[in-house]
Symmetry: C2
Subunit: 338 residues, 2 copies
């Protein structure tokens, strides 16, 4: 823990470490600690299930940040089912300078504009799975919690964000329907307006503007869910249910596709679609840009989302009326799946 | 040519088209037309030489922009020597809105701040060659000219930019020395301060900040060379000499490396280095970002710079004291090659 020597009051990270040493995290603990505990549990559950399916173990790297926080990055490469699978938890403590506070105030009016800096906490679970079989879709998930703290360590502003989306190389309508239906059920049990809003948000966000096409067949995406939307307990419960819906939304699809026959041309098409996945992540994704521009960030954990291999062919066009062309058509005009 | 119907004075693109119809481009013609002519000639010379070496022909796409200008994109894919080679000329006519003018004034005080918009012209030759053999280095080149016009079509502000840099997967010192030496000679014949300045600029620009390493072993890079530096004729002559130095700077290296033996592990290392090339181009390169954010730009011409295939392995580390590690060491601490 590196701090200026003249500052003897413990920082937020130190206060939280002490809390965790003194007592187990319960429903009475601050949301920071509850979210961290929850996503770490979910990471273990997901990793275990993916290891069962693949038959190969994840490599697990635990790392710490010099000013508080750290994470666990789990990656499985060149497995039996997955070309590359990454499931990562990160916890960040830091200090927001005034310009960052002013920018965040655009979405969060309850942030105090009269301070020079604010301590913050951010925690999230991120996952990208790239299966080897071109018939099995890539999937991405991210759920995160952000909080700023008053000087006494109490929470000031907070919000949740995240989502989950599916990116096939070959489109099976029944897969897209199953994926969306499972997520919609998790949303509906909290608020009937959530799924339609967050589905649209997802199509808009995971969009390769320069290609004029969506990254995949969507899912849900939301950000900045704070107390102007709903109270903290209910929002946390919603995020928990979304995350728990991941395995039932994706695993049945994977089981159905992972051993399907495919030929070299279908593998090549997957590689070309992977190239567009790389384009979205490196050119448009705000989370990746934020990570890469944060000094001291763990680059390998951020870029675990990239596929093992990708390809760029100049002016590659699928044959008219082919399955490949149908995917592109749907990516250009997102569908309502449920 | 699409223009508002109430505007009956010819735009800059129309004036230039008329000029080209009426008479051949000579040393008395505006710099716009001379630069366009020069880079198109050079494109042909370079394409012809690369076809000779590869034995396979380039695909040539001529395209036009709805509001004036266009280009010629030449790409050779899966050749005998080149995995992917792109040599493109683009010519753009357009109108700069006030905010863009104000931003450009930071570097060009002679831009008129009292107009609502300015017609501009931009032309450039861009090239990226990715050879198949991991012992043969990737090379990138770009030379460009930018000009704003007064309402009567006369030139207002102008500047040249560009450069050339080498990106090996396996470092042969003699190659880096030959490449730098050839470029330095072209620079020295114009100004002895150019090479040292532009070599440093190159190391600084082609830098993967998030990895803390240069993209390759450098070359030269410069931008915004206008009349505060030197007059237009001399600067054009300098750019011409730099571009003409390309073939002698690169071809001897390619001839030496293109048929060297290599194994699967060396090919894999090349793929990993290609991944970092993609990262630079999509995350940091201003030209790529500008292109992808320009409405109506030809995405396939911009992204012809990406390799045919690339790879991302989580936490891949070369063996200590290996040739692969030596490359990374040099990328982290740029060398003086001449």
């Amino acid at each position: 823990m590196i701090r200026p020597r003249h500052d003897y009051s413990p920082c937020l990270a130190e206060k939280d470490e002490q809390k965790k040493r003194e007592a187990a995290v319960t429903e009475e603990s601050p949301m920071r600690l509850r979210m961290e505990k929850f996503i770490k549990e979910q990471q273990q559950i997901i990793v275990k299930e993916l290891e069962r399916i693949d038959g190969k173990k994840f490599r697990k790297d635990e790392w710490t940040r010099p000013n508080g926080g750290g994470g666990i990055t789990c990656v499985l490469q060149e497995g039996n089912v997955f070309e590359k699978a990454g499931v990562g938890v990160s916890v960040v403590y830091g200090s927001l300078p005034k310009p960052a506070i002013m920018k965040m105030r655009e979405n969060h009016k309850n942030l105090d504009p009269d301070v020079e800096s604010l301590e913050f906490f951010a925690a999230g679970l991120s996952m990208v799975l790239h299966p080897s079989n071109p018939m099995a879709p890539t999937v991405h998930l991210n759920y995160r919690y952000f909080e700023t703290a008053n000087p006494d360590g109490s929470s000031q502003a907070w919000w949740f964000g995240g989502g989950c989306d599916l990116t096939p190389s070959y489109l099976f309508d029944e897969d897209a329907i199953h994926f969306h239906k499972t997520i919609k059920e998790a949303c509906d049990s909290h608020d009937k307006t959530y799924y339609p809003r967050f589905k649209k948000w997802c199509d808009k966000y995971f969009f390769n503007k320069h290609r004029g096409e969506c990254r995949g067949v969507g899912g849900i995406f939301f950000d900045d869910l704070d107390e102007t939307e709903r109270d903290q307990e209910n929002t946390f419960a919603f995020v928990q249910d979304c995350l728990k819906a991941f395995l039932p939304s994706y695993i049945p699809i994977l089981e159905k596709r992972k051993d399907m026959p495919f030929d070299a041309k279908e593998k090549e098409w997957q590689q070309i679609r992977r190239g567009k996945y790389v384009e979205f992540n490196l050119v448009h994704d705000r989370g990746t840009a934020f990570g890469l521009n944060t000094p001291g960030s763990r680059v390998e954990s951020i870029l675990m989302s990239l596929p093992l291999t990708a390809s760029w062919k100049y002016m590659y066009e699928p044959e008219p009326k082919s399955r490949e062309q149908r995917l592109v058509d749907v990516l250009k005009e997102p569908k309502e799946w449920v």
